[in-house]
């Protein structure tokens, strides 16, 4: 198994085989963050492609102070948010009130039937959570995903999204309260 640093050094010198290995190591995580923000498989795939293409072009700028995965994460997150912003500026099919519609037929949607062994309560919670996340704006979704799923610090999220820690805190507060409210609403419906 090649060491990631070795692969990185080889990729920097133009070795596409090494870069191919790096893609394999990080594609899942990059795709997942893009999917969680865009909530559409095809869009997430486009973002993953864009992320790795940009990364290849900018390998010389990667200073290595943070893990490669974090750097790729940042590129993917910004690219996904850019897509949402562009679409919000020019509404088109698939947008509902400025929000991306959830692709119900997606093969990768987290709301797919959970594996055997997952309790009914958790399955219900996952479905409600999925709907609640879909009702957030991309910016709020990005913040809460980066914080709760990827466990980035406030400073890391701010850097990733090119914004201030105060904005991150504010968005996170709103997103958490919004999710809590939506989950409470759906809970009361049952």
């Amino acid at each position: 198994m090649d060491d990631e640093n070795d692969l990185l050094a080889r990729a920097r010198s133009g070795d596409t085989v090494a870069f191919d290995r790096l893609i394999s190591l990080h594609r899942q995580r990059v795709f997942a963050i893009a999917y969680q923000i865009l909530r559409n498989e095809d869009d997430a795939m486009d973002i993953a492609q864009e992320t790795f293409t940009k990364a290849w072009q900018s390998l010389g700028k990667f200073d290595g102070r943070h893990p490669l995965g974090t750097w790729l994460h940042r590129i993917a997150t910004n690219a996904a948010i850019d897509v949402v912003r562009r679409r919000q500026a020019r509404p088109q099919c698939g947008l509902e009130g400025g929000e991306l519609a959830v692709d119900a037929a997606s093969r990768t949607t987290p709301s797919a039937p959970p594996p055997p062994g997952v309790g009914m309560d958790l399955r219900e919670l996952r479905a409600r959570l999925d709907r609640a996340l879909a009702s957030l704006s991309a910016e709020h979704r990005a913040v809460i995903v980066l914080r709760e799923v990827d466990e980035l610090s406030y400073e890391e999220i701010a850097k990733c999204l090119h914004t201030s820690v105060g904005t991150v805190m504010s968005r996170l507060y709103y997103a958490r309260r919004h999710l809590q409210a939506r989950l409470k609403e759906t809970h009361e419906e049952f």
Binding site: S24, R27, A32, G60, P110, V149, M169
Partner: protein, 154 residues
């Protein structure tokens, strides 16, 4: 309010100290406290859902990225190309300096150089230098309206 948001986030994150936590919780109602307590479950569900996201065609992603890289004519990273261009430029410059040093006459004319033209009118200056061995000469004339036909270069 901003302070409340900040404290709320830190409370949910579990990073408030004991006394801070007690003071903050005193501001909340029962429902809010319960919702926050359930957040651990929500967080776990989010992580689990994220962990189940899979690229449908992972190998296609790799091949597509490599195809895009090749198509863009970037078979090597931009920095590597930049370095190569910089080294190429430096090498060309060094070659130019060496060639100049070899072929460009330096300093005053050599011992074999002689003045071959003299002034023939006031205000006119002329000069010329012959290369050593008589292989060639440079002649220049300043401020002359014309050169008399009977004058010859001596």
């Amino acid at each position: 309010m901003k302070n409340f948001e900040s404290q709320y986030n830190r409370w949910i994150d579990g990073s408030l100290s004991g006394p801070e936590c007690e003071a903050f919780e005193a501001q909340l109602g029962d429902a809010e406290r319960r919702a926050a307590a359930d957040w651990t479950v929500v967080r776990a569900a989010m992580k689990e859902a994220a962990g189940e996201i899979r690229v449908a065609h992972p190998d296609f992603l790799n091949s597509r990225v490599l195809e895009l890289i090749a198509r863009a004519g970037r078979a090597e990273p931009r920095p590597a190309r930049t370095f190569r261009l910089a080294w190429g430029g430096a090498a060309c410059l060094a070659l130019a300096v060496v060639l100049t040093a070899i072929f460009l006459p330096r300093g005053t004319p050599g011992p074999f150089s002689t003045t071959v033209v003299s002034a023939w009118a006031p205000g006119t200056s002329a000069g010329a230098f012959a290369a050593p061995g008589g292989r060639g000469a440079v002649i220049w004339i300043d401020a002359a309206a014309y050169i008399p036909a009977e004058e010859s270069v001596r």
